[in-house]
């Protein structure tokens, strides 16, 4: 009878009045979360630069910018989903469908279409559509997001295989290919697109109801519900946005490679997820943001690039990311451990 009302979460009660020591630890922890990743990035960059002079060269800087472009775009969308406390595992599949549907509509080796920019837009829309589908399935069927998106990952890669039919279409629209490989005032075009994405993501996050309510939902769905926030609507929007960025990523990667391919997104989901988490966005939601995720992406890009310079096989990258993701999550949630806590 005297239960806590639904919709109210328990904050650490008496802990609030514990001594200053606790406060100091809290402030230090806060600082570590805010500045730790950026500091790690600087240290990594400096270390690799000292280790190999070629790493710090302008040419390699350009490579880094170019390599980080697609992950930056993907991480922007993924950040919203994770801020809401969900997860999207379908990124690679969605990228594949977008890539193929776009490539088949551009001038290509398989079909007679030549739709130019419209084809790019179709590719992006396909991504947004599957993202929205993720959101609708999660909110309507009330199934955990990792399960739904795991399923949609499989569905989308199946559809991509059907479109591809074993013969990946080559893109022959040279203007688009040229643009994707080109530079403007010395910056790779795709990096510019990524930066625009990042800025939009940042503005959405801080100046729109969607962005702010994303934090509300991640903070506590129960309080959000109590305050009359349309949780399902904003969740669908969040997944839609994540799908949209996956679509954009797939389309741009295709334009760069000149190929629509089932495996176009290979390893990207893992990379993005790791980047978002080490940037400081917690998997339980509510904390972090797109700028933090961007720092995370840069850390991973520098790490991957630097590892090649010091001669580590690129195959180990995924392994390193796996370890990083685990360490980041353990470090972030270690203090919440309790004897009766149930974690599935």
């Amino acid at each position: 009878m005297d239960r806590t009302p639904t919709g109210v979460i328990q904050w650490p009660s008496l802990a609030a009045r514990d001594g200053n020591m606790r406060k100091v630890i809290g402030v230090l922890r806060e600082m570590a979360v805010t500045w730790g990743p950026a500091l790690a990035l600087v240290i990594l960059y400096t270390a690799f630069s000292i280790g190999d002079a070629r790493f710090a060269s302008l040419a390699n800087l350009k490579t880094l910018a170019s390599q980080s472009a697609i992950p930056l775009i993907l991480a922007t969308g993924m950040t919203y989903v994770i801020l809401q406390g969900s997860i999207d595992l379908s990124v690679e599949g969605v990228m594949a469908v977008s890539s193929l549907s776009c490539a088949m509509l551009l001038r290509n080796s398989r079909t007679g279409f030549d739709l130019g920019v419209i084809a790019l837009l179709v590719g992006i829309c396909v991504g947004a559509m599957f993202g929205t589908l993720n959101g609708i399935l999660i909110t309507r069927l009330r199934i955990p997001s990792f399960m739904v998106t795991l399923g949609i990952w499989s569905v989308t890669s199946g559809i991509a295989m059907l479109i591809s039919g074993g013969q990946p279409p080559e893109i022959r629209d040279m203007s688009i290919r040229g643009w994707a490989l080109g530079e403007t005032i010395g910056v790779p075009n795709l990096t510019l697109v990524a930066l625009v994405c990042l800025v939009i993501g940042y503005l959405l996050q801080n100046f729109t109801r969607f962005g702010r309510y994303t934090y509300v939902i991640g903070g506590s769905e129960e309080i959000a519900k109590l305050s009359g926030v349309r949780i399902n609507f904003y969740k669908v929007l969040g997944f839609g946005l994540c799908g949209l960025t996956a679509g954009l990523g797939g389309v741009l990667e295709s334009a760069r490679l000149g190929l629509g391919h089932v495996e176009i997104g290979a390893q990207q989901m893992f990379l993005t997820l790791t980047a978002v988490v080490i940037g400081g966005t917690s998997l339980s939601g509510g904390r972090g943001g797109v700028i933090q995720s961007a720092v995370g992406v840069l850390i991973l890009t520098v790490l991957a690039n630097g590892m090649i310079f010091i001669g580590v096989t690129p195959y180990l990258q995924k392994a390193v990311q796996g370890v990083i993701i685990l360490v980041a999550v353990v470090a972030a949630t270690w203090r919440f451990r309790a004897r009766l806590r149930v974690v599935k």
């Binding site: 990952w153 499989s154 569905v155 392994a319 370890v323």
Partner: protein, 336 residues
Amino acid sequence: MAKGELEVGGEGVEGPATAALSLSPASLRAILSGVMPAVVLVALILVVGFFAPSFLSLYSFGVLLGESTIILLLAIPQTMVIMIGGIDLSIASIASLASILLALLLPEIGFWAIPAVLVACMAIGATQGYIHVVAQVPSFVVTLAGLGLWSGIALAIAHTTISVDEGYDAVGWLQATVLGIPIAFFGGLALLLALVLVFRRMSIGRYVLAIGLGETAALLSGIRVGRVKILIFTLSGLFAGIAGVAMVARSYAGNPSGADKLLLPSIAAVVIGGTAITGGFGGLGRTLIGVLTVTVLRVGIAIVGIDPGYEPLAYGLVIIGAVALTMDRARISVVK
């Protein structure tokens, strides 16, 4: 291990009232998850048989069962992990790594490579379970990280397949057939039956059930929940290792990403069988039906000559559909 019926409601303030109201969806779910999997399997076999009559022969059933072995070996531990409410996304990567390790070790130490690989895989599984329990990190995060780590290591060790020539005999017997069915399948089946027996007749089965259905109550009843979880994840590693051995026996080679494509089918097999991802409801017998269904789907698509793209498409839809039907939504208040 299967429970008769799951009661919905309960946790709300008005427990009894909601329980009475939602009785019908509960019993509906019991019927659906009880009979449906078998019906679906039979229907699927008939459909495939209709399009390709040769499919309905003893010979092709033998092939089918052989084909199902590795998915079976992955789905068995996945069932146990899902029964305690967790999930293991790393299991296929561990199997791939096992196949590589075995392919490297067989020519060196022969038969002893098998126990060595199995012990290594158990250690991997135990480590993941230990981290999950001690750091209290959700199992899907730990095993997702594991998925990256183990497949990364497998790829770093062997960039491509390693064929096994010298020392193959140590595993080759698994491919010998009895009645047209490979011994490996009988092995998998025997392991499944042994586990069913263990879970029915020994304390561990009760503990797993209690953890899946009410972990807090299990903890407060003095069950060493952490140990049980670590044990289950260790078994998961062991079975992944066995799957790796079976893969080498089957393809005469170790493949650093050979089993990766089997993760989804193995999860699909578990949920098609009717085991609920919320834990507690389901069982290994159901998973056997799920495994056969998935295999008929795979083989059928090839026999009937449909585009292979339909295969992942079907897994995805089936996973979402089966989870939607079997999940106990009363047990999770907020869906993340």
